[in-house]
Symmetry: C2
DNA sequence: ACATATGTACGTATGACATACATAGTTTTA
DNA sequence: TAAAACTATGTATGTCATACGTACATATGT
């Protein structure tokens, strides 16, 4: 990938590229190709054929340019991926009124989740450092808003935001990989059910008692989401995989801020 | 990477390889090379020089064999990575008594976190499907145990386990990438502080009000972890990045199970 | 207006890499 | 003891990121 030894993410370059300060008024011919057009093409390719189909040659071919022309606008593939990740993230949702912080957070979570369904390959782009792209920062900011409003301190809000982001990413990762239902190029179905069956043969109740118990219970039909008991869930409907965990977390946040308000500030 | 079109994770192969059912007593010469030796070498390489240094040629060279010999024992690099991920995960910690579920979960989280510090490259191995390796399953089982004991239903425990796994992975990912402090091959320091400074210049309070506020507060010295007020934290010390989120989540779990016990079963 | 510095686009070249394929040698089983 | 089945090796192929050199365009300073 990178030529240099330690593969250090090139912060400065990242920034100038991500923030698109392409100063106009230089010499030479007008560039027809731009970083944005390249990123757009890359996203199109990844959406259509997956991240492994995303090569510099492919991008160039799709745009009708020679491979090396790309490098006049983007210094390396690593950096291209960074730009692509930011562009594909898009703008965060507008969270209406932040007075109901649960609703706001749940909406944010749901939208991010949806984004990962639309661009599953986003989950495979290596994360090289703290987000620095304008869209990534906007997403973070939008999440911090309701968290701060709910009464969290700065550091707490940052931790909570990281927590939520990680949960969505992680859950989406597994969910996407499971649900891909593999368009079975070779004939085998390989769906979720098949995996479950193959697994149950491996899960020896002696070695994995808890896991076996969970599997047994779920085979018996005790699935999540059927039990919508827990009071007001905030209006926004979340995917079942996320709902329980996020709700518990928000419960914990609420009791925390409640205790804080009663005690000190 | 894979030759086939859809890049379907080869479930059957994964399983037989991961579960090491290498039946002995076949013809031909005894294999000196084994999947396990290969995996060990791979881990050594990744620990020393990072995942990008992990090539089939490098493994073969380190072991003193020709490149293609590797393929007699492992059908593809993708599969090798799967095996490596399971082997490197190692056995999960023993969680002493599960009567204190908070302590148990926190211990589990701390150990997983430590593992990611030891093998940061584990975070970059693409996750192709639900864990199926023996170690991965053992980790999952160990986490499910205290969760079930705490009174969660099967589906809830699974969701909580996924939630916690995702949080640790996600947080470790960012933490690792930030703290790498880039041994600055080219002279630039590029540490956490530098990134923070570079960021603050970008963060326009108008565009990112919440983010700016958090940055300002943290620049003023309001850091997390100083405020160890929140009562019994469970004994086990967790990294600051994780502590707050995990504790809030566990709080939520506790109130959930408490409400459940009071209400129904 | 003109010369030049500075870009852009392109072709070719290089060096990694994963992996197919054919071959030669080694045991174990029939 | 012969053949079947497996191991290790060498060579070959195709893909990839990317360095480097060249031809050309154009905005800027004279």
């Amino acid at each position: 990938m990178t030529t240099r030894d330690g593969k250090g993410p090139d912060l400065e370059r990242s920034l100038t590229l991500l923030w698109a300060g392409r100063a106009r008024g230089r010499r030479g011919p007008r560039a027809q190709l731009t970083a944005e057009r390249i990123a757009d093409a890359a996203i199109r390719i990844a959406d259509a054929d997956g991240l492994e189909a995303l090569s510099m040659q492919r991008i160039a071919a799709d745009l009708g340019y020679s491979t090396m022309s790309i490098y006049n606008h983007i210094p390396s593939k690593d950096l291209l991926l960074e730009v692509v990740a930011d562009v594909a993230a898009g703008k965060p949702p507008e969270l209406g009124g932040t007075e109901d912080f649960r609703r706001a957070v749940r909406h944010w979570v749901g939208t991010l989740w949806a984004g990962f369904q639309t661009h599953p390959w986003l989950l495979r782009i290596p994360l090289d450092h703290t987000p620095v792209g304008p869209n990534q920062l906007a997403w973070l900011d939008r999440l911090l808003q309701p968290l701060l409003k709910a009464g969290l301190a700065a550091g707490e809000a940052r931790a909570a935001a990281l927590h939520l982001t990680a949960v969505v990413r992680g859950t989406a990762q597994i969910s996407v990989d499971m649900g891909s239902a593999r368009r079975s190029d070779d004939g085998r179905p390989r769906n979720e059910a098949e995996l479950a069956k193959a697994l149950s043969e491996l899960i020896d109740p002696h070695d994995y008692p808890a896991l076996a118990a969970v599997h047994a219970a779920e085979a018996a039909g005790n699935h999540l989401g059927d039990e919508q008991a827990g009071g007001e869930t905030g209006g926004e409907t979340l995917p079942a995989e996320l709902s329980f965990g996020v709700d518990r977390f928000l419960d914990g946040i609420e009791t925390w801020t409640a205790a804080k308000t009663r005690g000190g500030g």
